[in-house]
């Protein structure tokens, strides 16, 4: 119900309170530095989609839907299926969001999440070919953000991963030059569970899973995605601030450790 400016202004007193608490290893919502918020994952809620997942990470709420069809492969990868991740911060998600085509933040969000899924080879795209060079499965994952309270990167990633893990796609068969729907359903060729962990640097402290308030005062942000072998398969530093090399290594270590924790949570929710 308020008039709003472009950006969220955190009260100076509140920022001082946050910094004071951080010096003692605590955050304003009672969490410790490395603690993530409560994570809820609900899958298979949109029957018309081949796969879907609704994720709440604290108050950040997102919903992902998977649609699988057939189409032509990309010219440079004729022997692989198509996978595309798209994200949209719905204007109803925050007083600061506007309707319209995705802005640079939404595009960065979609591309970073896409890279995490793609580089980890979560979905074996080579198994999504029907007629090499001509006809492949096309997997579209669309994410709609319903409520913004920080860390859209991780919430979006968990929703995409959960939706892909629980999707049921139509099975097609090549019939000469054409492909036909057999009417049967099968899971996607999923072989990995990449986990994204996003951190914010506030002063000299690096906190995991920032809220919108913490993002409003942070100096810089970093996201690392790890795969089941605990390799880092994607990373992105964001915002105009910096990290020292030591802080980068600290963040990478946290991403591996928390990634391990959250991988079992996601696997259990989507088993």
């Amino acid at each position: 119900m308020s008039a709003v400016k472009k950006n969220y202004v955190v009260e100076t007193l509140r920022k001082a309170q946050m910094v004071e608490l951080l010096a003692k290893g605590k955050r304003v919502d009672g969490r410790s530095q490395d603690e993530t918020r409560a994570l809820k994952i609900e899958t298979r809620l949109i029957e018309k989609a081949n796969g879907s997942a609704k994720v709440s990470l604290g108050n950040t709420q997102v919903i992902a839907g998977v649609k699988v069809a057939t189409g032509t492969p990309f010219a440079d990868t004729p022997d692989r299926g198509v996978l595309m991740v798209n994200a949209e911060v719905l204007p109803l998600a925050s007083p600061y969001a506007e309707a319209g085509p995705p802005d640079e933040n939404a595009i960065e969000l979609a591309r970073v999440v896409d890279r995490g899924v793609r580089e980890s080879e979560m979905v074996d795209l080579s198994k999504l070919v029907l007629i090499a060079g001509k006809s492949v499965y096309t997997v579209f994952v669309d994410v709609n953000i319903l409520n913004v309270d920080g860390n859209l990167f991780d919430a979006t990633s968990y929703a995409v991963v959960s939706a892909l893990r629980t999707a049921k796609m139509p099975k097609f068969e090549a019939d000469g030059e054409k492909v036909a729907n057999t009417g049967k359903l099968m899971p996607l060729p999923v072989q990995k569970t990449p986990v994204s962990i996003t951190m914010a640097r506030i002063g000299s402290i690096i906190v995991v899973d920032p809220t919108a308030e913490e993002e409003a005062v942070m100096d810089a942000r970093i996201t690392f995605t790890t795969d089941d072998e605990e390799n880092i398969c994607a990373g992105q530093k964001g915002e105009a601030g910096t990290f020292t090399p030591a802080q980068v290594m600290e963040a990478a270590e946290k991403a591996i450790r928390k990634g391990r924790e959250l991988r079992s949570v996601i696997k259990e929710a989507t088993g």
Partner: protein, 228 residues
């Protein structure tokens, strides 16, 4: 003692039929009195009243509000007062009549992010609310925590003649500055702030219950005894 009928109503509900005096959030249609909001309706021989449980803050002249400085131009500060309009605090109200942008630096007084306890000086349907800090206790808030509640719950938080807010203050050792716009600044000892914040949230969640005063009393009283 005279009787009041209390009813839980939602928009479109008929609260009463007949001939009554009536207040805000109610529309008279023929002899029916219709609720325009979700709230608690009261019908007594004094009339039909509706206490809303949800809704925005609409500024009124002389309201005390807690505002946040979000921008400044050469001639004043733009204040977020949690309404559909930003408030405007003219630099001349703070620096005096001799104010000139060439010689006075606005940020020497208030910066973006500062919280102000201020007053709605002027507001009408043709312009944005004008803010002033003229008055006892008004000005920059130097310390404390902010608790945000729905503006419709502020009367309950204050209580009849300040009973509720004074009780919270006394039992927690904290000072509470209540803005009509739903922002409350709580300052004092850390344990006191925690108790006060909890009491405020309790009032927000249970404003519609009749025995709220007793509940809050028990919460605060019991805590105080336990601490001894």
């Amino acid at each position: 003692m005279p009787l009041i009928t209390r009813k839980q109503v939602i928009p479109g509900d008929v609260i009463a039929s007949g001939d009554y005096r009536y207040g805000s959030y109610i529309e008279k249609r023929g002899s029916d009195y219709i609720a325009l909001r979700i709230g608690l309706a009261e019908v007594s021989r004094d009339g039909v009243k509706l206490i809303p449980l949800t809704g925005p803050y609409i500024p009124h002249v002389d309201d005390q509000v807690v505002g946040k400085v979000i921008d400044m131009s050469g001639f004043g500060w733009e204040i977020d007062i949690n309404s559909s309009f930003f408030g405007y605090l003219p630099a001349s109200f703070v620096f005096g009549r001799e104010f000139s942008p060439a010689t006075h630096d606005l940020s020497s007084k208030f910066k973006v992010g500062d919280l102000l306890l201020c007053k709605i000086e002027a507001f009408d349907r043709s312009r944005d609310p004008q803010i002033s800090i003229r008055g006892p206790g008004l000005g920059k808030v130097p310390e404390g925590e902010i608790v945000k509640i729905s503006p419709t719950k502020v009367p309950r938080l204050i209580g009849r003649k300040g009973y509720m807010v004074n009780m919270i203050s006394a039992q927690t050792g904290c000072e509470l500055k209540v803005g009509q716009n739903g922002l409350v600044v709580v300052s004092g000892p850390p344990e006191g702030i925690l108790k006060a914040a909890n009491a405020i949230r309790m009032i927000e969640e249970e404003a519609h219950l009749a025995d709220l005063t007793t509940k809050v009393q028990n919460y605060l009283g019991a805590e105080a005894q336990g601490g001894e």
